[in-house]
Amino acid sequence: MTIDLPINSVGIVKPTTYEFDQPLALRSGRVLAAYELVVETYGSLNSDKSNAILICHALSGDHHAAGYHSTEDSKPGWWEQCIGPGKPIDTNLFYVVCLNNLGGCGGSTGPRSINPESGKYYGPDFPVVTVRDWVNSQVRLMDRLGIAKWAAVIGGSLGGMQVLRWAISYPERLSHAIAIASAPKLSAQNIAFNEVARQSITSDPNFHDGRYLEHGTFPKKGLTLARMVGHITYLSEDAFGLKFGKDSVQKGQSGNFGRDLRSGKLSFGFDVDFQVESYLHYQGERFSENFDANTYLLMTKALDYFDPSVDFDGDLSRAFENSECKFFLMSFSTDWRFPPERSRELVENLLRARRQVSYIEIEADQGHDAFLLPIPRYMEAFTTYLKHVHEELSHET
């Protein structure tokens, strides 16, 4: 079935693969001798190459942030809501670059790639990469594209952490750092959820110590469980209540906390009774069919390890002392994974470092997932900020 592409979409897009043969030293001490990065770009680069924006993806994202790969494509890129003509990240104004990070499963070098040393899949042998390693690889991509300075580096969640790392490690190479629903480091609770996800994957009999591809299988059950746990943390309690409380609302009953039944009655067995259960199963299974388990393990470790204060005796403000960019942070009221307090913590440290920072807290029911959704105030503030970023470009030239 073909679809008519919406006019405010970047339309059909095609990823490009860039090869890098200069070894990349990783934070773990290991070295990636050569690697590939898969990249999509939207909009056009202006003559002085000043209008480029880097998008950093989160845990389950990839390079396909906007547009469609074909007219048969049923779903657009993961940040279609925010990237496109007339959207907050306006492709009429900016040249937008998004890549699949190292260790990902969207086509860049990762556990699904062939390890040149062994001639087999990397699988569990792919090095544990960190946010810092990603940003180091992103700088090389930037150089390859001939971009001296990003107009902005933008990301939500784990993507926001990459934004912060850019501001710390490459201060002269970005004008604006926009981190959405992010955090300076994970809390013990965050790490705990990640560990449950990892254990779900590694305890699946089909995991085969990470060499499942060699066995022609994959840990579907484990990855499904991991995603189910993750999914719970992305939504707020209210969001669940609204999503699975529709029947009771239709019947004129007051809220039932989203306890709508799947088939109208209890089974008195251990199968799915409530709609929320089948929803989680569905989401988890779809995810497990499209994502790599080793990549999931790597991504959660990158999250757990992120803490830019480690190089500064735990003083985060010192990490930002050399940053030159302006910061714009946004958080969402019901996000309990990276709640507003975590963004305020960042704001406080940026203020201590005397950096230029703007921060807004958006009322939204949707929890952490809100950063992917078209919430009016979010869209308006995002659009307004980036319009001004673009005005600055025109003043500078």
Partner: protein
Amino acid sequence: MRPDLEIIQDWIDPGTRVLDLGCGDGSLLSYLRGSKNISHLGLEIDPVNINNCLARGVNVIEQDINENLSNFQSQSFDTVLLAQTLQALSKPEQLIEEMLRIGKNGIITFPNFGNWKARVYLLTKGRMPVSRFMPYQWYDTPNIHFCTVRDFDTLCREKNITVITRTVVNNEHQGTWYMKAWPNFLGEIAIYHITRSS
């Protein structure tokens, strides 16, 4: 330019750090950034105002100045501004203390309730004054802590706050010699430049 801005900008040294509490649409900071090359930050809670700040490229943080400002380090700004907001604060005394903790000096502007028009209104009508500039009824006004020039002077004395400069203007933000002579009677808007250091 608004004459009150002209007065305030004379008190701000070029290249200093300025924090505006309740910065509104950011026009004051935007102006000072242009004329004085200041480092700036505004605090605001109204989403429309915040968006106007973002449109101007004014740094703005969504934060309620009625709640604590402990995220700001002591003496981390040169000047802390509070323009036409004092009367709407839940704890004005506490905020003035915070202003002088965070900033080396503070600038406060507020409507002077001691102005003759307010006095005449109350005297003749026996009701809380309502005017074009204070258009609210007593029950729906956001302005819950009105004071007069003399009240503010007293507070500064009691709290050991030094008034560097005090001036009053009318609602068109113009000052005259007779307003300066009888500020508490003729001034409509009071503008104070205060500090803690002697």
